[in-house]
Symmetry: C2
Subunit: 398 residues, 2 copies
């Protein structure tokens, strides 16, 4: 297997896309990535696109092909992959695998979603289709419900009074909104930058114990990256960022899940990525993790091995996940501050890490010194699909 | 890149699945494939699943993960790929690529759909989302309309009176129904086996010049295959069938398509597959091609290189695509006779070819002598996604 690099990244403004269609959003992000890479469109040999619900949002199935056509990529293979909110993570993983295999040298990958137009109640209901249809969605479960249960289980498991846990969870929201407010591409740019824990606690209750500010927003947006064989990367750029390892794991319906606060699929996925990268959690200086809800970030940080079981809530409260802390978590704003266009999120995370590792993060959000290793964590459904991508500024040690 | 073999295949009865869910259908096909391969479920390292519209059919997004859970595959990567009616072809192609790359040794791939429950008008409308949403579906175009236009263009281009072309197209329907009637897994098993050209012509007009018998049915069903590194295949089976080459191509919205009866994406995809396999169209003895409508088979046969441009309609009428003819086309019944559960069709085609190449086709449908080389052709949307898979009874010549 060959080594793989990212040579270009592109990202639309997250938030309300208005009249722009999903295909237009994707083309915008893709063209930025291609321009950033300094390549000609004719050098792209395949396209992988993550998109979760475009059929419901715009009546568009098979969007990857039409994106390839919009981008004038010719008859190259263009494939949509769908793993709910992890779709773009899977798309980039596919691209990395294909380049690693030697089949292709340059592949475009990313994701897109236009979720805002559905309106909150319909979006919530539509998103819930990524739960198990027969045992969960049919019972009325939605994602706020899933993560409210997870929060209660976490409090119970680690013997933390629920009100105390709410305060610790609120620290995730404060931190990620703080970062998002400084990210010009974020949905909440220049908003909620001075949020306090009390603001989160007093915000509208969505699903007890999760308030509105514990939840990520609905968003439109797209992000894309150009993946290239590492041996050819320096032909295009002086700052290739290497994909050192990727992982993917699959969960079960909740009724068969052994432990909701120790998601086995995430543990397996992270293990796969770390093994391939040849590094350990302690080597990572920056992570973009799937904070669809505040509690989700806490659970993720433990499953990825950054903190022991039951320790991430306290660590967050103590600032260990701030920029300048033990590991900077979601310095882009994460899903909570940057926004969560579901099929695009995995690519947005990679975009934000590449910015960090090039030393080009938005003002105030740059981790110092420039991180050597970064990691994404993208979750689809209620612990159904997990995808991790580990990036490095230098190639893998042999 | 390593060579790849198929060591097991499974297929549900196509037609009306009744109370069985899509996940149950997929598990049924997958377990048959696993049993056929004689492997333990624990040997499967990844799952690729094609599914086009399960969100609309059953409110189930991210089905691959739940299929992996149903099959007790553990936390292995489980990925849904979507290329409309070509979804399962892409899933098998992904599996083949991953095994070829050396990343995995044994991968399960297939597809599923439960389309019948939607009812014809809703299914037609829902399927049309695989057209370009803004320029085609919004204008009221549906797939019968697309292929009726293609038939008229074909008649015009090759100066064939439309009534004459209708007779030639009817020969596709007669042939494929004849085969389907002898295939116990086909939706039309023991039905329409003695259809005459006049029956097709006099059948209900759906979209002029296409009658009901020019169209494939809506279907429920699933099919799956086990893909394995060629060097390990004989550990499991005495009759591995090798994946010699695969191809994938992408089209454009119809408004930008150069020539609807010479689909460039199909030509590109077939060329990719033939190049990888190191053989030519004349080497293929059996093909399962995407006959969603009778005219679609004719167009496919020319684009794949089996017949010259404008020659496949005559060749069909002259019996050259019958079993015993120059090349046996759709001896399983094809989409018209076997049924078309959209996300499953590409895997069903591979299943049928593997049967042929093992000499185990349904009675009366076996091509003699047992074919050395076979080819699938799967189409998603209106010439949007093309996928081809070339199979051989022996490994690639070095």
């Amino acid at each position: 297997m060959r080594e793989v690099a990212i040579i270009g990244v592109g990202h639309t403004k997250f938030g309300k896309a208005g009249d722009k269609t999903a295909l237009e959003l994707f083309s915008e992000a893709a063209l930025k990535a291609v321009e950033d890479a300094g390549i000609d469109l004719r050098e792209i040999e395949a396209l992988f696109q993550g998109a979760a619900l475009l059929g419901f949002e715009e009546g568009q199935v098979m969007p990857a092909v039409f994106s390839a056509a919009d981008l004038h990529l010719g008859e190259i293979p263009a494939t949509r992959v769908e793993g709910a909110c992890a779709s773009a993570g899977l798309a980039i993983r596919e691209a990395a695998m294909w380049v690693a295999s030697g089949a292709f040298d340059v592949v475009l990958a990313g994701g897109v979603e236009k979720a805002l137009a559905m309106g909150t109640p319909f979006a919530t209901r539509t998103f819930a289709m990524a739960c198990h249809a027969y045992s969960e969605a049919a019972a009325g479960l939605t994602f706020p419900g899933v993560f409210a249960m997870a929060a209660r289980l976490y409090a119970h498991r680690y013997d933390i009074p629920l009100e105390k846990l709410r305060e610790k969870m609120a620290c995730v929201s404060v931190k990620n909104h703080f970062h998002g407010a400084r990210n010009p591409l974020a949905q909440f740019y220049q908003k909620y930058g001075d949020l306090k824990v009390e603001d989160v606690l007093r915000s509208k209750m969505v699903c007890d114990p999760l308030t509105l500010l514990d939840c990520c927003p609905f968003s439109d947006g797209a992000a894309a990256v150009v993946v290239c064989a590492a041996e050819k990367a320096r032909k295009f750029t002086d700052t290739p960022i290497y994909i050192l390892g990727t992982g993917q794991g699959s969960g079960t319906p909740l009724s068969k899940m052994e432990d909701m606060v120790k998601p086995a699929a995430r543990v397996a996925s992270a293990r796969m990525a770390f093994k391939q990268a040849g590094i350990e959690p302690k080597d990572i200086q920056v992570a973009e993790v799937h904070d669809c809800f505040t509690i989700a970030e806490i659970i993720a940080l433990e499953a990825l091995g950054f903190f022991g079981w039951g320790e991430a809530a306290d660590a967050t409260e103590e600032g260990e996940t701030d920029i300048g802390g033990r590991i900077a978590v979601n310095p882009s704003g994460g899903l909570i501050g940057k926004g969560h266009p579901i099929g695009a999120t995995g690519a947005s995370q990679v975009f934000s890490l590449v910015e960090q590792m090039r030393g080009e993060a938005p003002k105030g959000n740059q981790v110092e010194p420039v991180p050597e290793f970064g990691m994404t964590d993208t979750l689809g459904g209620d612990f159904g699909t997990l995808c991790n991508i580990i990036l490095g500024r230098t190639r893998r040690k042999k």
